[in-house]
Structure formats: structure tokens, C-alpha cells
Symmetry: C2
């Protein structure tokens, strides 16, 4: 398993993962936590080998002339590997979601009925350059009692193979079947289609990466998919808002880590605030190296701005670029967000109680924010511990997905011979 000499037969991988998932579901919380701690230790011990493999991937990517952003996503290095080990320890320390029954309600006939949280079974993840996903996804899937099948990108092939070896070693040391976690070599699209067709064996597939990958998965999947789509996140500076706060949220949302999906990509400003707010915003953004692409009214107030093209609205830059538009009303801001937002994160800066309530009620996004940065839509910040990503699908999970979201709930009924009348 784990990348070395994988069986070429994807359907057989899925069958073996499904078989392995039954004993996983019955593992006790402490057995799972111990295995995760063993994984964290194995990561530390294996760090030099992983780092060396990762350097080869990075060198190959550099030779191929890929973007600096991609090289950054690909790079592990000792500090990130240590952070990865720490995050596995954090997952080990989290409460175990499996087996919990939140309440047993007594039905009129005396039957006790409740819902028990149980693993999904087999979770497949299809992702691109970031090799840390290999460990985080495997750890979260295992915590939730699932077998997992991980298909990373070809850019990270050597890193993933090395991480797969670490993972396999930790599982073997704790007596867990190697079929419980598959780190596949890069698959071509035909082999990926076979993986996506295994309904009855694969219970969930999570695609994480560029729009092309996610569309490919959605189009070919015969198994349930939870999409982790792009984040086109807006900040709306409302009429009467606190300008100092609006500027703070804007700087943090746009520039603190511009390559993340919860970064702010577009600023909307009420026309009553534009005259005072936008020139200051333009200066602050320029100082941070942010390029502004504005509507005509913005251009009149921010001399350094370039005119926004039609496709700047709804665009995920993942870079130091910001679209800016002046709107005439709160409703126009809502309309803009409904049309161009991606259902990810939408923030309002306001002093109005009524509009804060309308924003939280009416905006359709996985995370709707009042007077805080869009950057808070994150599993760690929202108390989930680690996350496999941020779902922009509405079913099952909408927003950050932690171990709990890799489970489902079945009904359990305890009776004393009740029958239906």
C-alpha cells in the first residue's frame, strides 16, 4: 500500500478499503488516539526522508517553471512537517465523534429512540499540490473511523509516497490493516473516473483544488461528492459603518494571507461612505502592495486603481489584487453577493442592528460574518480543530469540515417488544 507498489486495480483498492472499514468503525476512542500519536511520532522520525522527497518534488516543479504560489503550496520543510505532527496530535486529543448518542427520546409507546454518530465508511479525497493534505485527511478520516483513499497530484508524487510510507508504518505498528489508508500514486483521469464510479464501496469523495478538478469530479462521480469550491469572499462597508474597523477588516481579509480561500477578494462600499473611505483604503492597500480594480466611481476616488473588467466581479484572485465597487444601497450589495459570491464567506461592516440581522439571515454562504474578517471561516478558528477543507456544498456540511463531518447518524431504537398498531 501507501504509494510503493499500489495495485493497479482501483476497484480492488476500494473493495479492500471497504472491508477494512468495518473493524475501524469498532475501534475504541483510545485505540484511535494512540494510533494517531504513533503517526505523529513517525512523522517526526521520518521528517528527514519526507523532506528529501519533498525537495525533489519542489526542484522538479521549479524546473518546470511553475508559479511561486504553487511552489509554496508544494513545499513542506522541517517547520511545516513539525506543524503537521502537532496537528495530528491535536486531532488525537479531540473528542471522538463516533458512537455518541446525543439523546434517547422516549416515544409515546415507551420505545427509546436516538441517533448514534457512526463513520461514513470509505472516504476518498482527490486533491492537488499540497502534500500536507495527505496526512491531515488520513488523520481526520481515521479519527472518524473511516478507511480513506487519497489521490494526490503528480506535482507532489515523491512527497506523498514518502508520507504514505510514514503512515503505513504507523498503522502497521499499531496493528491497523494497511487497507485502512491508501495513498495512491498520481492517477490519470481514466483511473480517477473508475474511483468515482465505485458506488456501494466509496461513501464520499471530496475534491479539493482548482475549478477544473472539481468540475471533473462532479461530472463523473456516481458516489456522493462534497465540493470544496473557490472562495469569492466579499466585504461590504455599509452606510454609517466605522471606517477604522472597515479598513482593519479589509487589510486583514485581503493581505494577511492572500492565497487562502477565505481571503477577501472584493470590497463593496455604500456610496455614502465611498468619498471618505475609498481614498484612505486606496492608500493603505497601495502600501500593502495590493492592486485595486475598481468600478468607475472607485476610479474617481482611488487614483492608483485600474478599471475593473466584467470578469473581475466574482473572481478569486488568491493574490494581492482586490476588486472594488461602490453600491447605492444595502439591497444592491445583497444582489451583488448573491450574483457573484461563491457561497463561501461574506462579511458586513455595519453599525446597523437591522442590517446586521438581514445580512445574517439573507446572505447564502457557508459563513456569514458581521464586523469581523472573512479569514475566520476556518475549522481551527471555529473550534473544529483541523479540517479537510471548507465545503461550499450545502448538503451534509456547509463550511469547514472536521472529523465530525466525516461521520453520519443512524437511528438506534431500544424496545421491550413494541409493535406498530
Amino acid at each position: 500500500m501507501a504509494g510503493q507498489a499500489p495495485p493497479p486495480d482501483i476497484a480492488e483498492v476500494c473493495r479492500r478499503a471497504k472491508r477494512a472499514s468495518r473493524p475501524l468503525a469498532a475501534l475504541t476512542p483510545s485505540a484511535k488516539a494512540d494510533t494517531l500519536l504513533a503517526l505523529a511520532r513517525a512523522l517526526r522520525e521520518g521528517a528527514p526522508a519526507v523532506d528529501e522527497a519533498n525537495r525533489r518534488d519542489v526542484a522538479r516543479a521549479r524546473e518546470a517553471g511553475v508559479s511561486a504560489a504553487l511552489v509554496d503550496r508544494l513545499t513542506l520543510g522541517p517547520a511545516r512537517l513539525e506543524a503537521l505532527a502537532k496537528s495530528v496530535e491535536a486531532i488525537a486529543a479531540q473528542p471522538d465523534p463516533v458512537g455518541q448518542v446525543t439523546a434517547l427520546e422516549r416515544r409515546p409507546n415507551g420505545l427509546l429512540a436516538g441517533q448514534m454518530r457512526v463513520p461514513l465508511g470509505v472516504v476518498a479525497m482527490i486533491y492537488e499540490a499540497r502534500p500536507n493534505v495527505t496526512i491531515e485527511a488520513a488523520a481526520l478520516a481515521f479519527k472518524a473511523g473511516n478507511a480513506c483513499i487519497l489521490r494526490g497530484g503528480s506535482d507532489a508524487a515523491a512527497s506523498n509516497e514518502a508520507l504514505g510510507r510514514v503512515l503505513a508504518g504507523a498503522l502497521a505498528a499499531r496493528g491497523v490493516s494497511p487497507d485502512a489508508a491508501w495513498v495512491l500514486p498520481p492517477l490519470d483521469r481514466e483511473a480517477t473516473k473508475v474511483l468515482l464510479a465505485q458506488s456501494g464501496l466509496v461513501d464520499l469523495v471530496i475534491p479539493r483544488g482548482g475549478e477544473g478538478l472539481i468540475r471533473f469530479v462532479t461530472e463523473h462521480a456516481r458516489v456522493p461528492v462534497i465540493q470544496h469550491f473557490k472562495g469569492v469572499c466579499h466585504l461590504y462597508a455599509d452606510e454609517g459603518c466605522d471606517h477604522a474597523m472597515a479598513l482593519r477588516l479589509l487589510e486583514n481579509g485581503k493581505a494577511q494571507r492572500p492565497g487562502t480561500c477565505n481571503a477577501t477578494e472584493c470590497l463593496l462600499v455604500h456610496r455614502a461612505e465611498a468619498g471618505a473611505l475609498l481614498p484612505r483604503a486606496g492608500e493603505r492597500l497601495a502600501a500593502l502592495g495590493v492592486e485595486v480594480r475598481g468600478c468607475p466611481r472607485t476610479l474617481a476616488l482611488v487614483p492608483s486603481a485600474r478599471p475593473a473588467a466584467d470578469d473581475d466581479w466574482g473572481r478569486e484572485y488568491l493574490d494581492l489584487v482586490l476588486a472594488v465597487r461602490v453600491v447605492d444601497s444595502f439591497d444592491e450589495a445583497l444582489e451583488h453577493v448573491a450574483r457573484y459570491g461563491s457561497g463561501h464567506t461574506e462579511a458586513l461592516c455595519t453599525a446597523s442592528y437591522e442590517r446586521a440581522q438581514r445580512w445574517t439571515r439573507e446572505v447564502d454562504a457557508s459563513c456569514v460574518v458581521v464586523n469581523a474578517s472573512t479569514r475566520f471561516n476556518d475549522g481551527g478558528e471555529l473550534g473544529l480543530g483541523a479540517e479537510v477543507g471548507i465545503s461550499t456544498s450545502k448538503l451534509h456540511a456547509y463550511g469547514p469540515m472536521g472529523a465530525e463531518h466525516l461521520t453520519t447518524r443512524k437511528w438506534v431504537l431500544y424496545g421491550e417488544g413494541q409493535i406498530r398498531g
Copy 2:
């Protein structure tokens, strides 16, 4: 709308439903309840016209020589129409799931973070003969703040058209857009594929009907699907169980309403109990007109039984037929259920604490039952009020789906200017 002169353009139907879904999401609980009460009244007033249309469908089905079970599913009649009106009133009286925030947790930085229950948007239902689904699905979708698109079967075309008129009248009387609920005429498979391809417009599709329909939908859907698959429900009479209880659960599970998906289709008996239990079971089943198809050991104990063929294991009879098998151990019963069960409902009759705990923990099904009838896997019995069906998908909902399962939860964050460090 509503079946009369539907636009032939399915994509346009979906666009209009999506547009209509935004104001629906903002309706107050009392506005929705009032509209549902208006629908119940309209159903009573329109009952004669619906009944007349339904008689035409039934007559057509009889002429075509369809099965008695299908005629039964198709038939409405005054009593069932009154029951339908009552169920709409019950849905009106249920708590409104939309807008509820169960808790706002205070994060370390003071940010208040919670999850608000919100509608999915547009829910499509693809179903077959039962015309009551038209009203129940529309009422549940509306209660949850969703627009709905309902595609019934050709057998029920006249009934659905008449029910669609009633629905449209009730919505119009309360000022709700007619685009909020579409009762489509029967669509051919090509038109259905267009409906299934509307990702971005249709948020969920629920297929309900035979295996062929569900496979067709799963194969062609580019939008999220929650399958309502068949129920191959087992009852396992464990070593040392109370025989009187086992017989009571068996009779109720098999014969109280054999055409339902939560009826018991297969009895498993521990070999230690078979000698005493099976002859009595055979007599009781014969008296109820139930045909027994047994394994060789069953045949020796139940003289009236026929030999079970290989395909009797895992078969959904929906009829007065029962498969019976003697097993050597609890683990063999678990294996049988894992192999042949459909993830619907699995019941154990036992006196053993340990095996009751193992059954609830280890059996993978939407409802796992100890010492009660399989017939209890039902939205009404489990306290959900009405249901759109029983999901055998694991994502989002596993088991009966009520109004709450036609919603999702988005994060809402209330801050005072917090930014990420």
C-alpha cells in the same frame, strides 16, 4: 405552472424556481404556517375534482392491467385525501426549522460563532405512482423555505395535475410566487436528465421509487442526490431470545403492512432457537397467508416452506413472502445483514445486553432496532412529523427525512472588529 401549461424549458423552470427561493427563505414561520393551512383547506375544497381525476388515472391503470399493489399506491379516494389535508395541517403545526441558531459559542477572541439553519434552496423530487407525494413533498419543502420541482409518474398524471391546481391556488391566495412549487407533467428520460444536470440551480434531488428509477437518477445527476432506496429489513432471533416476543415482532414486521419499505423481508434464527421457534413461526405465518422461503434447516422445521433460491437473500418482496435462514452464531447474522441488508432497518430480538450493544454499534443501517418491530423506522413514529421518505444515503440524512432535513446550517459570526493574527 402546476401542470397546466408548463414551459417545456426545464432549465427555465429551474431558473425561475431558484429566483423564487430567495423570498421563500425570508418568510416568517407564521406566514408559512398560514399558507399551509390554506393548502389544507384548498385540498378539502378541491377533493371532488382531485378524486375525479384520480379515478381516471386508476381506470387507465386497471385497463393497462397493472398490479393490485400499483393500483393501491395510485388510489387516493376521499379518506386518503382527508388524511392528506390533515398531514398538511400537522406540517403547519410543526416547529419551523428555518432561522434557528442552536448556540452561539464565544471564541477566545470574543467572536460569537454559531450555526443557523437555512433552506437548501431548490429541491427536486422524482417519484412514481403515489400522487400523495406531490402534496407531502410540496408542503415539507415549503415548510423548510425551499422552492420545489416535482416530477411524478405518468400513471398519476391526471391526479398530479389536479393536485398541482389545488397547490397553485393556495399559493396564489397567500401571495406566494407560482414559481415556488412546480408540479411538472410526466417527463421523459431526456427531459429528466436536463433537470438532473442543473447544478447551481437545483440544490438537491430526491428520487423515490423502484430501483431502476433510482439508478437512473444516480447515474445522470450532476446535482446532489439523496437516495431513497429499497428496504431489505431483517429480524434476527438471537440465542436465548423470548420466543413470544420474536413471534410478535415477526408478525408485525412482516404482515401489518407488507408493501412498505420498513416491512421485515427476512428472518434469521440462531440454531439454538430454531427447533422450538421455527415450527411455531411457520404456523403463525401460514395463518397470515405468508409464504416462507427457507434455507435447508428451515425446510426441515417448517413443512409448508419452499426452498429459498440464491436471490431470495437480499430481496425486497413488498408482499406476504418471507425468507428464513438458520445461522450458527451472532457473527454469522451480522455477516448476513452486512452482505444482504440495504442499509434501511435491521432488528434484533435478544435477551443479551452484550449482543444488544454490539448490534446497535456494528450494524450499518439507517435504523438499528433492539426488541421492537422494523416498522418503527418511520418519520411519524420517530417524532419528525411527516417525511419525504427514508434515506438510505449516508450523507446529510440517514433514515426518515422531515422538513429539517430539507435545510442546511450556515455559520454566522458576530464580531466587534476582530481580525486574524
